[in-house]
């Protein structure tokens, strides 16, 4: 408990002194949330990890299954009671499929970007009595990265997903259709393209001298154990993994993590003990007595950075991205309503409605005195989004009563609004929304000031 309080205090102090720029966020405060005070979900960040879907990258489109999986992945409804009450869903930790490096839950996180999946908060039955937080993995390229879990305990992604939902988050047993969909979604998340790498994971001609030297060192046998090398486990031609578990002196057997796009996956090692590649290289140098001169270390780091790179790793959050997501999610209704699939209809109504409600809050109402200007535009934007939420609710009500023709008709009205009128209205209001950096900063500065006023002063 003491550790928990100290951690909580440390995070709050850190948050209070951090500059509140685009990466600003707001931790949970008070004792009225199911999440512990000091919880940081980083949902307010303006720059979000970009999500690249394989189906779209090769010129196609996301399937119904992928969209349904994405929808379920973003829905608290498939998890247990605590997660539902907290609004926590899979994408809370895996933002657009990528690790949320700033997530911190006091008592469950040892540091930002880590989470104890066997803690008591979300599923007391899974509590193992050990504070063993692990890093939140990126799901980019997950289809190439079996087995799953830091210790590689589960061969099947489907089994792993089911265990997270039911075992770690106390959710109800997911239907086979939902499980298939989530697997399809995860398997469609691609690595970001990396122009530094060519076939077989080799550096391209554009690589620097340091990167090339690092590539050579990466493949060189360890001096005291020539059967080992970095490339022996991180196989360049195989997504930089060997699908095996190894003891690298970090406290047990853990599976080889991919190095692709790893620039964006810090902190490193299963428990997130290292922030940088320099520290990682130093660890291997020490544990395997590699005797690396400083130049070699620097070259290896340069190589790791080149391998771990990716194009456009982040994208600015905004109206376009939010509406596209809502549209992709709601698209499952194209199939679910004609099929009279009540489970999917209600999941879509609930999840998309929730997303649209949250989007409406990005347009502060007039009681937010920190935001100046665009009042009428904000008012119209909020109204438009509320109308969408209610339109979806009518779909849900009609479907619940098995009036599927009525649900279809209401869904068409929803489509008319969200495709035609709403984007223009929201774009018009965007300069006065929390997607606008100055407005974002002003709003959260007011929140921060309010929080500061609420702090007990030392006597």
């Amino acid at each position: 408990m003491l550790v928990q309080r100290l951690l909580c205090g440390a995070v709050l102090c850190l948050w209070l002194i951090l500059p509140f720029g685009n990466a600003g966020a707001f931790p949970v405060t008070g004792d009225q949330s199911v999440l512990p005070a000091g919880t940081e979900l980083n949902e307010e960040a303006l720059d979000q990890p970009s999500e690249r879907f394989h189906s779209e990258a090769v010129g196609g489109r996301k399937s119904y299954l992928v969209n349904l999986g994405d929808l379920a992945f973003s829905s608290p409804d498939i998890l247990g009671e605590v997660a539902r009450k907290a609004g926590v869903n899979c994408s809370t930790c895996h933002v657009n499929g990528v690790s949320n490096a700033r997530l911190f839950v006091p008592g469950l996180s040892s540091r930002p970007g880590t989470f104890d999946t066997t803690g008591a908060l979300f599923n007391p039955k899974a509590d193992n009595g050990i504070f063993d937080a692990v890093t939140i993995p990126s799901l980019r390229g997950a289809r190439y990265l079996a087995p799953y879990g830091h210790n590689g305990r589960t061969a099947s992604l489907r089994d792993f997903v089911r265990d997270v939902i039911v075992g770690e988050f106390a959710g109800p047993e997911p239907s086979p259709a939902i499980l298939d969909a989530i697997v399809a979604y995860i398997q469609d998340i691609d690595f970001l393209p990396n122009p530094s790498l060519g076939p077989a994971g080799k550096l391209t001609a554009n690589a620097s001298e340091a990167e090339r030297r690092g590539e050579t060192l990466f493949a060189r046998p360890f001096p005291h154990d020539p059967v080992l090398s970095c490339a022996g486990c991180h196989v360049p031609s195989g997504a930089f993994v060997d699908h095996l578990q190894h003891d690298v002196g970090s406290g047990g057997l853990f599976k080889t993590p991919t190095l692709l796009n790893a620039d964006f996956n810090a902190p490193y090692f299963h428990d997130g003990r290292y922030d940088t590649f320099d520290q990682v290289v130093a660890h291997f140098d020490r544990v395997f007595a590699l005797g690396l001169p400083s130049q070699d270390r620097a070259d290896l780091v340069a190589y790791l950075k080149a391998v771990g790179d990716g194009m456009r790793p982040y994208e600015r959050d905004g109206i376009t991205a939010k509406l596209k997501e809502a549209d992709d999610f709601a698209s499952v209704l194209d199939t679910a309503i004609p099929a009279h699939d009540g489970e999917v209809i209600q999941l879509a109504v609930s999840t998309v409605g929730r997303e649209l409600r949250e989007l409406a809050e990005q347009f502060p109402d007039r009681r937010d005195t920190a935001v100046v200007g665009g009042r009428e535009q904000r008012r119209v934007a909020r109204t438009a989004l509320k109308e969408l939420v209610l339109s979806l609710r009518r779909v849900g009500v009609a479907a619940s009563a098995e009036r599927f023709d009525e649900a279809e008709a209401e869904y068409r009205k929803y489509c008319n609004l969200i495709f035609a009128a709403v984007p223009t209205l929201l774009k018009t209001a965007e300069p006065w929304s929390l997607f606008s950096p100055p407005v974002h900063d002003s709003h959260y500065a007011a929140m921060r000031q309010l929080l500061k006023e609420s702090k007990k002063q030392p006597h």
Binding site: R367, V380, E387, R412, F419, P423, T424, A446
Partner: protein, 286 residues
């Protein structure tokens, strides 16, 4: 937006969405105009004269609730002057209760004062600025903020005695508040420092129930008893969801469903009682 291919696997409704997309450039301007009318920019009140008397009856309740808020604020000022923290906290809670019951009325009919009294997030004035210091920092040096709160509540107390209460405005207020009740409070809600966000919600629902029962219930029961019963049922169900010991025990999914179904029902009721579709956002101060 989502790209649409011509693949034959597209469903009928998907095709409809695709066609809409093709047309959207040409229709977006006209749809925006239609939408602006729908959201209240050009909405006009239909003839609802029979409701006017009922709206006037509701005035006495508003006077009572704002009076309670004002009395609470004045009591708060006394405790602040006496440096009595626990008394000040209780007075703040009492004042807040009267205010939250009045939100059906305040946001639409007195938006300027609503903004000054209930600004969020604002550390300089209003209920929450006082709350942060009283309940968060455990200090009572909120004289200036309390004086301003009293001033604004007193202005409101004077205004409500002669302001024109329209049934349309009250239906708008009920509907907006019903939607707001369903908002996520996972962060502890607006009254997170005092831990009274749950009370806020209960008082909001009480305010909705009172305004609905006083102004609209009789007229709707006469024109559509089934819908009237449904609205009454949604209000009772909301009360049940909020009948828990603390905010953490509220089922947010159930709360949101009920909130939205109540709003849908209230929207559906408007035509039945001779009113325009209620707006979902407050009008801007003129």
């Amino acid at each position: 937006m989502r790209s649409y291919s011509s693949k034959s696997s597209m469903t009928n409704s998907g095709a409809a969405r695709g066609r809409e997309l093709c047309l959207r450039r040409y229709r977006s301007v006209s749809l925006c105009l239609i939408f602006l009318v729908a959201v209240g920019v050009g909405a006009t009140r239909a003839d609802a004269a029979p409701l006017d008397e009922a709206a006037e009856r509701y005035r006495s309740y508003i006077i009572e609730d704002i009076g309670r808020a004002l009395a609470g604020a004045r009591t708060l000022r006394e405790y602040v002057g006496a440096r009595d923290l626990s008394g000040a906290k209780q007075a703040w809670i009492d004042a807040r209760a009267g205010w939250e019951r009045s939100e059906v009325f305040t946001s639409g009919f007195a938006p300027d004062l609503d903004e000054k009294i209930d600004a969020w997030p604002d550390a300089s004035s209003g209920f929450h600025a006082i709350e942060a210091r009283l309940f968060g920092a455990d200090v009572v040096n909120v004289e200036e903020q309390t004086d301003a709160l009293i001033l604004h509540l007193a202005e409101l107390d004077a205004e409500i005695r002669h302001i024109a209460l329209t049934p349309q405005g009250l239906l708008n207020g009920i509907t907006r508040l019903a939607y707001e009740v369903g908002e996520s409070k996972v962060d502890g809600g607006e009254s997170r420092f005092s831990g009274t966000s749950l009370d806020d919600m209960r008082n909001n629902v009480d305010g909705i129930a009172l305004a609905y029962r006083t102004v609209f219930a009789t007229a709707l029961e006469a024109s559509d008893p089934k819908l009237a019963a449904a609205i009454q049922n949604y209000i009772e169900e909301l009360r049940k969801v909020l009948d828990v010991s603390d905010l953490k025990r509220v089922d947010p999914a159930k709360l949101r469903v009920l909130s939205e179904e109540l709003v849908v029902a209230l929207q559906g009721s408007a035509q039945k009682i001779g009113l325009a579709r209620p707006t979902l956002e407050e009008p801007l101060p003129r």
